[in-house]
Subunit: 290 residues, 2 copies
Amino acid sequence: MLRAMPSLISLRAFDAAARLGSFKDAADELSVSPTAVSHHIRGLEQALDVQLFVRETRAVHLTETGRRLSERLASAFTEIADALSEVHATEHELTVTTTPAFAALWLVPRMEAFHAAHPDIRLRLETGTVPVDLARDRRIDLAIRYGVDEGPLLACALPPERIGLYGAPNMVAALGGRLNGATILSTEWEQPGLPPITPEAWIAAASADDKPELRQFEQEHHVAQCAIAGQGLALISNLLAGDLVARGLLTPFRPDIQLRGLSYSVLCLPERVRVRKIARFICWLEASCE
Amino acid sequence: MLRAMPSLISLRAFDAAARLGSFKDAADELSVSPTAVSHHIRGLEQALDVQLFVRETRAVHLTETGRRLSERLASAFTEIADALSEVHATEHELTVTTTPAFAALWLVPRMEAFHAAHPDIRLRLETGTVPVDLARDRRIDLAIRYGVDEGPLLACALPPERIGLYGAPNMVAALGGRLNGATILSTEWEQPGLPPITPEAWIAAASADDKPELRQFEQEHHVAQCAIAGQGLALISNLLAGDLVARGLLTPFRPDIQLRGLSYSVLCLPERVRVRKIARFICWLEASCE
DNA sequence: ACCAATGCATGAGAAGAAATCATCTATTGA
DNA sequence: TCAATAGATGATTTCTTCTCATGCATTGGT
């Protein structure tokens, strides 16, 4: 067959030169001197006993065989590069799907901390209200869902939430603990078979007879944003309100009154729980909840 | 993306190790020491920051990512090897199609000489009675056909043939120039619109009134073989008989009587006549006919 | 239960590629 | 005509890649 398998490095030099139509540009791409490229291509031509380039004074152009070889080499080298970056991604990119609210109010503020703890892992967030089938969609490494408890998929669970009212600091101060004339902002919770988390339940728990205005949102973080804007008291969980309170954007209203909520579940295919990047994330997540 | 593009050599070491499931075997395949393979794979794992092999005491096996990477690398390296050998083949393998007779009686005896003159060109023969469409079947570089004259495809033509009778030496001697009791072996020539090349034509040309036996074959070289076996006189061309005469297997019978035949045409796609291997062959062919 | 054999890991140093440097040639275009 | 460009070539240097010597853990045979 072939006298001697030419070195892969020459092939790459040829590939670059063929693509760019110039030894000099190829040299730049490969960060070597044009001389090196020239040597490589000459060596390759000798090894294959084939002329690949027609040299003209200030330019080179491919022969017909050169063109054919370059085409196939290009696709092979692309395949290699793709494979490498895919490997890198599957090991160092962690894709988490969760609810828009958890992403916006809990995860996003903490991504910086995660990256500091694990600089080699790139965290990608996908949010959506439709639950994802982990077995089906292999791009997703982890799903963080509210109140789900899918036995075999459950990797860990965050502490149960407590639901309370939160408002912009000046509004909470102005209300002085009473709901008269206030607006309660809440989400349309749709957890089948679970204690209702509603403004009514909160009012009942507080044994209040005030009749505040009510406004409903589809997204829990919209509730929060609305409360921050001073438009009412948000009925949200301590988990999601935590950062906003810490940053002084919200203040608890009657923190003594809290409804019991569910907890967030972290779901993962059982055989993948031990994958490095996934294990790291779960470990970090648990530590971040204390 | 990637910290540092790993060297292609490491990738090839990994590919081999992954395919063979053993560093040692990979080392053998690559003709290096197992140490080199070990170093390469460790380097690769560090460059990618990924574990590719799980080491056990006397064996290694791929991790899941290792397996995926190896799959794609294998296909890429196969592509490269294929591309290289294709290049080599298209430059150094010459495929000629011709008639079984011309192949057997003229070309095959001269292949050795061609190879001696052009050691880097490997001559492949394809024979068949059905003419080949060169534009359609790109595997074929040249077609040598009898009496065809397809204008644009005609690369060169061999000298016109002269058709005569040839027999085994002792039979020719025994006949003493007369056809009485002899058998004439001939081919069913089917050249439309051409002077008939038949035993009858020969007898007419010789102005003989002998009535020899007649036997027909489909293949001209079968005629020759039959004559060599002493079963009659072959009505064949000087071109095809030449070698057999030179080797003393056949002797001309009444060499003064010869019918005019056609000539062999060498056909080639016009744009490919100047391809090195093709030009060499045509040049050699013309020189071989003198 | 022990010892030889196997397969891989590791570090240091040797061998061998591959890159560069300096120099040349042949154009091109200003 | 001369500076600038793109590439070729050969000698030299640099640095990758290989090997050697050695070590470790395990397996299988006696």
